[in-house]
């Protein structure tokens, strides 16, 4: 019989979790609570004696110093109590570790039907708290119905003996695994089945699929294997492999692009080939540091003689949009498997995040599944737990608010790893599978989780999207697997490794079998979380924390024993072959027999009409706006805008120093509270360091990795070409600002785009969005070639739209602005030469590098007034590159005290950042700022022209510094002062701004000051 253990903090202990809920109830819903106390609940569905129960209660689950606990309901005072537990089949990480601990301390082995489930009970006190309030708190704050269930009990209905009652969220399927054959007598039949089964087959693919299965030779071979019509597992395999998520059909599509309604049509065949692959391959020839691109889970560049770094970026938008915590933690933990599955395996050394959500204080009529505020809380926590518990530092991140992300949020996650150049004397970046090698699945078990996740993320989110693909990542299980696989790699036991992400085994085995050209899989060997899964479900399940590995038969014993040492489950599920077939059996009976080259053969290219209308043709103009007078107030208001203001509360939740490699932290300056331009980590943790013991005097700090990202979706409203070029330019400048080298920059492109397929009713502006994509890709190509940035990795997420219910029962389609996140990574030769952005010493000179132009289009300044304008910033690499090179040189020569790029918000905002970083006064003269045809102070202060930096230097270095930039837009505009005020003279030399730096800082910090 099951037991329910309740545990809570002793009454004199502060309940931080409860207090957090109390505050949110008040701040989010205006519900005033006097007190919230939390009770941790364990439902123990394990057959145990009374002695055993008492032993685990006292020795594991109750801290004698802080906790009280009981197998009967705890008498914690409340007016309403809310119990929240997981739904059946949702990953319960604490439940699993509880089982491990119980087995260990009692020395028992539990049965497959036994489990421990965790849940929580919240005890709410508050005068006049209503049932409606309790409902609101349960449904909008404590639980998400997609993954959780709850009970709300008022005090007067509480039975102190029975408590909440016991709910055991055990999965019971009572289902005999069945392979179903699918009739393909017509295209219409297959289309119907595709819709019914949620296969999301593209209608254009259907004839090809049918032709294959109707082919006489294929039919004869299938008959020998005991198959005739296609099986469900076969169609699922094809559907997964053909999905836009896996196959990037959009980027490989054919675009009929024209400029203006009457323009001539230009055929753009395959954006991936022309704008990503071709430039990258061309640059690979020029850049010997490019090691591995365009084929593996992540791209690789050379770090030093003995190591490569690897990088990739992903998004996890759709799941996060529905279950923010679960989606985000699954996203970050998932992207960490990419470097682990790159080459023969890489150690993870850092991660980063980018969150794009609706306005945090949204109070309009649209009703998204999760309010942006709640969504942001959830994704912050998800990436936090996923990263921190993986032991991987998160030294960089960005958060951006925009109404367009109300339909679907964006959660960008990026991962960087390090691998040795060779493993067992062979190149570590290479890998292949060979006939006879074992197919091994490592890590977690398989359940119904995430089924059809890939196809769902290739669809526009609607009320009917199945929620079954929401998962909760498990960094603990993955960390064990990570440690194990790196040890196995170093022993030379791994021939091939890849992760099980989207598409599960179907993707990982399917893709790895292409190398050997075949595989035989015995599906019944795959370890399951619970019985009753159909074969196709086992094959495509996206249960997390799994890797697929190829191991030679002679290494298998060693591999499995290492796995056991690390408490990781590894199972041989088949062998690689050279049959040309994907052959899957279940208990000896064939359930799939497909030619591996099917996917390469003749599937039609996707096609799009793309129609560009220039900003002029769209009637965009500059606003009629006279110059403001109160610049003090204006600057403070600009600093407190949500996309500019301090988000320290988020940054500090992320461990950015684990692994001991932190060089440039996310927050810098005297008070360590202003955002750094980029992150730098050192090489300490390459895993293979060698040192003479006691040798403490390192001549230099050695090499490091600099990392930066940028997001500027606001510019897309004018032109996605400039959005893209400015985003790339910003990421490049961020890298250079900390000491990065223009000669070595690797890029990662992450596109998030609304649906671009035109439809007269459902997507009337589809052609324009398609044109924006074409233009964006062209800018990507142009910038990468200009700055010589090979694209080490990249991904696209193409359906960033949502349909939100409104006030009257109607729904509104909300599309995200066309968004590109661009990441830059580069090697720093000597970390001790890195610089930070904060002003440092009074008397230092303040320089501006790069010209300011009248480019306020879609700027933060215009946005502040509700304008858009037209003059979007441009990027002029020919002019910018000499300046960037000069700055790289000045940093290398240690001539600068601080460097900061001028980004969103413009010069005014970023001069303030430099002063706030130093907590120090600054005195500048705007008439000295290098500018092209600018005659207004507001333009100088807030134009977002690309290509600019603010630099402070020791006056002693003045001559050397100015010599470097001779003939370039570079001017000393003032100095750092002994005072505490930020003072700027205007073009007419009159004082324009005079504000204490601390007052600026207060304004900058105030919007989220109450959050921790």
């Amino acid at each position: 019989m099951p037991y329910q253990l309740e545990i809570t903090l002793k009454t004199d202990l502060f309940d931080a979790e409860g207090e957090g809920i109390r505050q949110k109830a008040e701040n989010y819903f205006g519900i005033e609570l006097a007190q919230v106390r939390t009770i941790r609940v364990l439902t123990i569905d394990v057959n145990l004696s009374a002695d055993h129960l008492e032993k685990i209660r006292t020795e594991i689950f109750t801290n004698p110093v802080t906790d009280i606990s009981s197998y009967a309901p705890l008498p914690v005072d409340f007016d309403w109590t809310i119990w929240v537990g997981y739904r059946p089949g949702v990953k319960d990480n604490p439940g699993s570790t509880a089982m491990e601990a119980v087995e260990d301390i009692l020395g028992i082995k539990t049965g497959p039907d036994e489990a421990i489930y965790t849940s929580k009970r919240y005890c709410l006190k508050g005068d006049g708290l209503t049932a409606k309030d309790a409902d609101m708190i349960a449904g909008e704050l404590l639980a998400n119905d997609l993954i959780q269930q709850w009970k709300i009990i008022p005090q007067k209905q509480w039975n102190p003996k029975k408590g909440t009652g016991m709910i055991i969220p055990k999965v019971i399927l009572n289902h005999e695994p069945t392979v179903t054959s699918v009739p393909i007598d017509s295209d219409a039949t297959l289309k119907k089945i595709s819709d019914e089964r949620n296969l999301a087959l593209n209608p254009n693919d259907i004839p090809i699929i049918r032709a294959y299965f109707l082919d006489k030779k294929v039919q004869a071979e299938r008959a020998l294997a005991g198959l005739s019509e296609p099986t469900d597992i076969e169609l699922e395999y094809i559907s997964q492999a053909r999905s836009d998520h896996c196959n990037h059909n959009t980027f490989q599509g054919l675009f009929r692009y024209k400029e203006g309604a009457d323009g001539s049509v230009e055929i753009v065949d395959n954006l991936f080939e022309t704008c990503i692959k071709a430039p990258t391959l061309e640059l690979k020839e020029k850049k010997p540091w490019v090691v591995s691109v365009l084929w593996d889970n992540a791209g690789a560049g050379r770090f030093d003689d003995d190591h490569y770094y690897v990088i990739t970026g992903e998004t996890h938008n759709s799941p996060s949009n529905m279950e923010a915590y679960g989606g985000a933690i699954t996203g970050i933990v998932g992207v960490y498997r990419d470097p682990l599955g790159t080459g023969k395996g890489s150690k993870l050394v850092m991660g980063s995040y980018g969150f794009c959500v609706g306005p945090r204080d949204y109070d309009g009529d649209l009703r998204p599944k999760l309010h942006p505020r709640r969504l942001l809380d959830g994704v912050i926590e998800g990436v936090r737990d996923g990263g921190n518990k993986s032991g991987i530092p998160t030294p960089f991140g960005q958060v951006l608010f925009h109404q367009g992300y109300m339909g679907k949020c964006l959660v960008f996650v990026t991962a960087v790893g390090i691998m040795p150049a060779t493993v067992d004397g062979k190149p570590a970046e290479q890998k292949t599978t060979s006939p006879g090698e074992m197919v091994i699945m490592c890590g977690g078990r398989v359940g119904k989780d995430g089924i059809h996740g890939v196809t769902a993320s290739s669809e526009v989110f609607s009320e009917n999207t199945p929620a079954g693909h929401v998962q909760i990542g498990d960094p603990y299980t993955q960390k064990k697997m990570h440690d194990f696989l790196l040890e196995a790699r170093d022993e030379g036991l791994i021939q091939f490794i890849t992760d099980n992400g989207g598409g599960g085994l179907s993707s990982s085995v399917g893709e790895s079998a292409l190398f050997s050209n075949g595989c035989e899989i015995q599906l019944e060997k795959v370890p399951l979380k619970y019985e009753g899964l159909d074969q196709w479900e086992i094959w495509i399940s996206e249960s997390q924390e799994r890797m697929t590995v190829a191991v030679r038969p002679e290494d298998i014993q060693r591999f499995l024993s290492l796995s056991e040492k690390h408490a990781v489950e590894s199972t041989v599920i088949g062998t690689y072959a050279d049959s040309g077939k994907l052959h899957i059996t279940y208990n000896g009976k064939t359930c799939a027999y497909v030619n591996l080259d099917l996917l390469k053969s003749g599937f039609p290219q996707w096609e799009f009409d793309a129609e560009w209308l220039s900003p002029h043709d769209r009637g965009m103009t500059e606003p009629v706006l006279s110059e403001p007078r109160d610049y003090d107030r204006l600057l403070m208001d600009m600093l407190s805008r949500p996309n500019i203001c301090s988000k320290e509360w988020i940054t500090r939740q992320y461990d950015h120093e684990v692994q001991g490699t932190s060089v440039i932290k996310p927050l810098v300056g005297e008070d360590r509270d202003v955002n750094s331009d980029a992150a730098v980590i050192s090489k300490l943790e390459t895993g293979n360091w060698k040192l003479e013991t006691g040798n403490l005097k390192l001549e230099t700090g050695g090499k490091g990795l600099a990392f930066s990202q940028a997001l500027l979706p606001a510019y897309s409203v004018i032109d996605a070409y400039h959005m893209t070029s400015c985003t790339i330019d910003e990421a490049v400048r961020r890298l250079i600002a900390v000491g990065g080298n223009l000669e070595h920059i690797g890029g990662v492109d992450n596109f998030c785009w609304p649906n671009i397929q035109y439809h007269p009713e459902n997507n009337p502006d589809g052609k324009f969005k398609a044109a924006q994509l074409v233009r964006s890709c062209r800018a990507l190509r142009d910038m990468c070639m200009a700055y010589e940035i090979p694209l080490l990795s990249g991904k696209d997420s193409m359906y960033v739209d949502g349909h939100l219910p409104g006030k009257y029962g109607e729904t509104h389609k909300v599309s995200a602005p066309e968004t590109l996140q661009f990441s830059c990574i580069g090697v720093i030769d000597d970390i001790t030469k890195c610089v930070t952005m904060d002003a440092k010493i009074p008397g230092d000179l303040v320089y501006v590098l790069g010209a300011t132009r009248d480019e306020l289009g879609a700027s933060e300044y215009y946005e502040h007034f509700g304008h858009i304008g037209k003059n979007v910033p441009g990027v002029f690499p020919d002019q910018f590159i000499p300046v960037y090179k000069g700055l790289c040189h000045a940093i290398k020569e240690e001539l600068v005290a601080s460097v900061h790029g001028i980004y969103r918000g413009g010069l005014g905002v970023h001069l303030a950042m430099v002063a706030m970083g130093g907590n120090i006064g600054m005195n500048v003269d705007l008439s000295l700022v290098p500018a092209e045809q600018v005659s207004r102070n507001d333009v100088i202060l807030f134009s977002e022209s690309a290509g600019r930096f603010i630099v402070t230097i020791d006056p002693a270095n003045r001559k050397k510094f100015e010599t470097i930039f001779k003939g370039m837009p570079c001017a000393c505009i003032g100095e750092i002062t002994n005072g505490s005020d930020f003072i700027a003279k205007g073009i007419d030399k009159r004082t324009l701004l005079n504000v204490p730096v601390q007052q600026l800082k207060t304004a900058w910090k105030s919007p989220f000051a109450g959050l921790i």
């Binding site: 570790t97 301390i105 498990d474 939740q653 461990d655 120093e657 684990v658 001991g660 300490l684 440092k840």
Partner: protein
């Protein structure tokens, strides 16, 4: 090779093992990363080491209290070996998750040589969240702690969600009376934080950041000395370097306080 052999635990979600071993090597020890299961199955033996380091991380995901399950597993399987290791006069260090483990094992505070009773706890931060920040620490010069000899103040990073030191009044008093309170959170000027955030980042009673047993050979602390292994680890290093440069220096401020802590351990033998 150094004569001082240090064991750094790994596995089950621990994650600071590489940099902790690195810091020990910098300090002159010979460090080995050892999986918890290798100690349990006897393939690695404690008797071959003089120092045992319980490092940072999220052992077993920390789902049932920081360090709780790690302590249960070690106590159940090799509890006696660990006690024997201590009896021999060796050193034990617990950092962050390791500190949580030491208090759950009962190795700390170790009143009257009782290394089995849990009488102090590290519980949820008052701020309710995980937090990464640098703190200033005041070192108790009167404490018997081997690791902090000759140190007066330390700046180190904290990175935890459960670091609030908690116990009843009499236990806290006893810790102070015995001079077992080694580290207390302080302001940047070196004054005690007096429970003010962010100086005391978690609400620890009496600003306690680290304690030792009565012998001074077992030491646990929430901050991470291994994360301050090079002068560029410090959050102000670019500022310090610029100031030193103006006075003709290089910016290299020498051996970090983090490494000095490990050097003290090596010097003990």
């Amino acid at each position: 090779m150094s004569d001082v052999h240090a064991l750094v635990l790994t596995g089950y979600g621990l994650n600071c093992d590489h940099e902790t071993a690195y810091a020990l090597e910098l300090a002159g020890a010979s460090a080995t990363r050892v999986h918890i299961n290798s100690l349990i199955d006897g393939s690695v033996k404690l008797k071959d080491f003089q120092m045992m380091v319980f490092g940072g991380g999220f052992s077993w995901g920390d789902d049932h209290g920081g360090g709780v399950i790690q302590a249960v597993r070690l106590k159940t399987n090799i509890g006696d070996n660990i006690l024997e290791f201590i009896e021999k006069g060796n050193l034990v260090l617990g950092i962050c998750n390791g500190f949580q483990t030491l208090v759950n094992l009962g190795l700390l505070p170790g009143f009257d040589g009782d290394y089995k009773t849990r009488s102090v706890a590290l519980t949820y931060n008052d701020c309710g969240n995980f937090r990464d920040d640098w703190v200033n620490l005041k070192v108790n010069a009167a404490s018997p702690c081997v690791f902090t000899r000759g140190l007066d103040q330390m700046e180190l990073p904290i990175r935890h969600g459960e670091g609030k030191f908690y116990s009843d009044e009499s236990t806290i008093k006893r810790l102070f009376d015995n001079k077992q309170v080694v580290l207390q959170y302080a302001t940047r000027d070196g004054e005690l934080a007096d429970c003010r955030r962010p100086f005391n980042p978690n609400g620890s009673i009496s600003d306690i950041a680290g304690i030792c047993d009565t012998t001074g050979r077992i030491f646990g602390l929430m901050p991470h000395p291994e994360a301050f292994s090079h002068w560029t680890s410090h959050p102000d290093w670019t500022r310090i370097k610029e100031e030193m440069k103006r006075q003709g220096g290089s910016g290299d401020s020498g051996v970090t306080v983090g490494i000095r802590l490990f050097q003290n351990a090596v010097k003990f033998f």
